[in-house]
Amino acid sequence: MQDSHVIFGWNPLWVSSFLFVITYAVIITERVNRAIVAIVGGCMMIALGVLNQEAAIRGIDFNTLGLLTGMMVIVAITRRCGVFQFIAIWSAKRVEARPWGILVMLSVVTAVFSALLDNVTTVLLIAPVTLLVTDELAVNPYPFLFTEILASNIGGSATLIGDPPNIMIGSAVHLSFNDFVLNLAPITPLILLLTLVVIYFIWGRGMEADAERRRHVMSLSEREAITDVPLLVKSMVVLALVLLAFVLAHPLGLEPATIAMMGAGLLLLLTNFGRDAEGQSKDVHRSFGEVEWVTIFFFIGLFVVVHGVEHAGLLELLARKILDMTGGEITITAMAILWVSAVASAVVDNIPFVATMIPLIKSMAPALGGAEQLMPLWWSLALGACLGGNGSLVGASANLIVAGMAERAGHPIKFLPFMLLAFPMMIGSIVIASVYLYLRFL
């Protein structure tokens, strides 16, 4: 506690707990932008003396920030060439514009993209294609958009870079890209497959479109989506190198943030090669402008807030309580983390939840026999937090993005009807995850 000098001699545990609860409560109300809340909360931790500035900066996970920022720059540049829309339209045409086939293809494409890009970018690319195609086919877009929301969160859970909770867990516990692929990716195709089976019985059987309308969809020109071939080549080369580097990160001795930043730097270099100073300045400004700075600053503030309560001993206290409740039994603890994470992530933002859970789980290590014994708990947290996002419309940012686009297109996705179907399906996916975790890790 040498970094704490709380004003008026107040108890650091109480002060940090109060700031933590207030910060999270205001985030949940969504009355104030979450980045503002997190930054103010973080600064209050310092201003009230729970942390000094050096301690606060030590609490910020720059590996997470570097990985997020680097990937955001790569994706922002890559999407300009139109390759993702090319793949989405191409896949819709592969099934000869049959509605059910399109739903399956776009859902699979969404899941794969979400595993490699962030979920919000993925749905921003796929949802317009979905709305256009369903409009042409004169079929209800709701089942398509609904399934894509689920697919984005399922796909995002498969890799280190698929969803922010995985990035945070991977960074905090030094889990590699391969660790996520080997331990989480095997279960995601099964969850997606069973999701599609359920969707088929609810909507898929009745999906039809006449030949003329399907011909219209077949007339969509996916080649026209590629607006910049040189950029396409450069982006694909860099994306492939980045993925390869993630796979080889361990032997190369590279951290994920270094790889993402190197990829971003290389792509910026390649795309600006030969441009004059003004052209470079404009392009770099545009690329950095597309980074989601709200998310980055949200993370920064949150890391400081969580470090404050960790530093004051609250999380250790909570960890001991949880272990008392589960009797220190790893299976019960893993299941509790999985289910609580899933339900919590369905109703509140999973980023602050995971930010809190990481130090909390870390502090369980001595009681559970060391850091190695915690692995099932990390996978439980990752699966619970990512899949839990499917439980409601507010469970993940991607869900709200799709809902917004659907509403503007005249096909609103309402909170309650969505939740009535999505929540039981999310529970189903958590049951599958429970069985998988039990058989594989416990």
Binding site: A127, P128, H216, S221, A225, A409
Partner: protein, 151 residues
Amino acid sequence: MLPDDILIRTRTARTGMLIREVFEECLKARLQSLPFCDEEDKVVGRVTLKYIINRSIVPEYMAELAHVLGREMSAFEDMEARLKQVFDNSVEAYVQEPHAAIDSSTPLMKALAIMEHHDTSYLFVVDEGRYGGTLTIPGIAMWMSRLDKGR
């Protein structure tokens, strides 16, 4: 101070006005936009022809995928019917944020600088919240032309 004969004076859009009337007023004055006023005659927004047309015919997702659209699409077929329906709509659904505005005492050079700053070709002239006319680049050009002829 803006010269008296440089402004284009029009009606304002307000609650209950039909899109048909907005079109008529804009076409008569050769303007792309009208200010939208509240019950107290204060300018609280604007309606533009571009926004009305795009919102009625071109959904957001179609603009996003403009390059890939085929030549024969169902969406294109009922375009005229959709356009005709738009004319009977009330203007409220098409109101956007207020446009950049100046007051009538603004020097012309400053008005031009504000246009450049906002990358627009027109400004509403508003005095104490009330609309007085629209300053446009064609309007300024005509005024300059009159100056040239009277030289």
